[in-house]
């Protein structure tokens, strides 16, 4: 396609088929269970990052907070397996994007909805997802994917409401 040659010399390689990607993801998740006894996640790390930033900006309030306080009691809240795992996600994604010719610095969605709207939507969407992930004690990866693989009831309830709400909200609000 014309678009691919406009931006970069490296050819944009196609995505893996969903079947291949799904098989690979399943094997990675199984490996994670075998190595660690639990699945993959994301918001465990962002919650610890919040506690860490809180400790730097407002230490007294963070220590007194009944949710973040226990996280900072034992020293550095970032010292955890999940932090390394998310650093790993960043490295793996960077490698894949680079070798796939798909790395582009861009504000994705600026063209479709305009930059100001895209920024507000990304911030608001992140806020909703961050709040929701704390309510559910997990996100799409940690509860939806990893939990479903252990046949947990909560995971399927999460995925059902996740999809139903997304379906409705995407018809009401265009954020990308």
């Amino acid at each position: 396609m014309l678009i691919s040659t406009e931006f970069s010399a490296r050819k944009v390689r196609p995505f893996w088929s969903p079947l291949v990607a799904g098989l690979a993801l399943g094997l990675v998740l199984l490996l994670t269970f075998v190595l660690t006894g639990h699945g993959l996640g994301a918001t465990g790390a962002s919650t610890r990052m919040t506690a860490w930033l809180g400790l730097a900006v407002a230490p007294a309030a963070t220590q007194a907070n009944s949710y973040l306080g226990p996280l900072v009691e034992g020293g550095n809240p970032l010292a955890s397996w999940i932090s390394w795992q998310v650093i790993g996600v960043a490295i793996g994604a960077l490698v894949a994007a680079f070798f796939g010719g798909r790395f582009r610095i861009q504000l994705d969605g600026a063209r479709s909805v305009g930059a100001p709207r895209r920024l507000v939507a990304a911030l608001g969407g992140g806020l909703l997802a961050g709040f929701g992930a704390r309510v559910a004690a997990g996100c799409t990866s940690g509860l939806g994917l990893s939990g479903a693989a252990t046949l947990a009831v909560a995971a399927f309830v999460f995925l059902g409401l996740f999809f139903a709400t997304g379906l409705i909200v995407s018809r009401l609000v265009k954020g990308v």
Partner: protein, 205 residues
């Protein structure tokens, strides 16, 4: 014998790197591809997730059946169904509006997307809001709807594990069949060129 219950840096980096590598190659760093699932034009999110769930669930079952992994050896999320439902709705809304879920926003950022960085800032803010509201009231709501009998379908409702696995495989086949049907009658899956060019670059069909 399994699992090793390793909590070290190396296993974190290795599992994470493989996770991120697969997610980017699946196209899940792109908010236009991710949200196309909700527009029902691209079923990659569900196809990939269901395939992975089935592979891992079969693998865990196989390891237990072979005597390589004891029962209850891996972490299973507690069945706080109200918390899962409310949280799932919020994450779904955030995904639809912001274009990412927490994990895929990391993939988006490291494939060059600055909007994913903004989403991550929002994620931290959402955590701050939750921590600020956290207390006996929110704890009581989150504890509602717990299934006392157990956390898995087998423990909670007595559905045999093989039945659950068979149902999941049937659901997987259905997702691929109906998903592809929806994809054929719409603009179809977001290609890597369209994803790299950014949302809004696709020519509508």
């Amino acid at each position: 014998m399994f699992p090793f219950n390793d909590a070290g840096m190396i296993s974190g980096l290795v599992c994470g790197a493989l996770f991120g590598f697969v997610l980017e190659n699946a196209g899940f760093g792109s908010p236009s591809k991710l949200t196309a699932q909700f527009q029902l034009r691209d079923w990659s999110v569900f196809k990939v997730m269901f395939t992975a769930i089935v592979v891992t669930a079969l693998g865990l079952y196989g390891l237990r059946a072979a005597g390589l992994m004891p029962a209850d050896a891996v972490f299973v999320p507690t069945s706080f169904l109200m918390a899962a439902a409310v949280g799932g709705a919020f994450v779904g809304a955030g995904f639809a509006i912001g274009g990412y879920c927490p994990g895929t926003s990391v993939v988006g950022l490291f494939s060059g997307r600055l909007d994913a960085l903004v989403f991550l800032v929002g994620l931290l803010l959402g955590t701050v809001v939750f921590a600020g509201l956290y207390g006996p009231a929110i704890e009581a709501i989150m504890a509602m709807g717990e299934v006392q009998a157990g956390d898995t379908f087998t423990d909670a409702y007595g559905i045999p594990e093989v039945t659950m696995l068979a149902l999941l495989i049937a659901a997987l086949v259905a997702v691929f069949y109906f998903g592809s049907w929806f994809e054929r009658r719409s603009a179809g899956p977001v290609t890597s060129e369209q994803a790299v060019a950014g949302a809004g670059s696709q020519t509508p069909v």
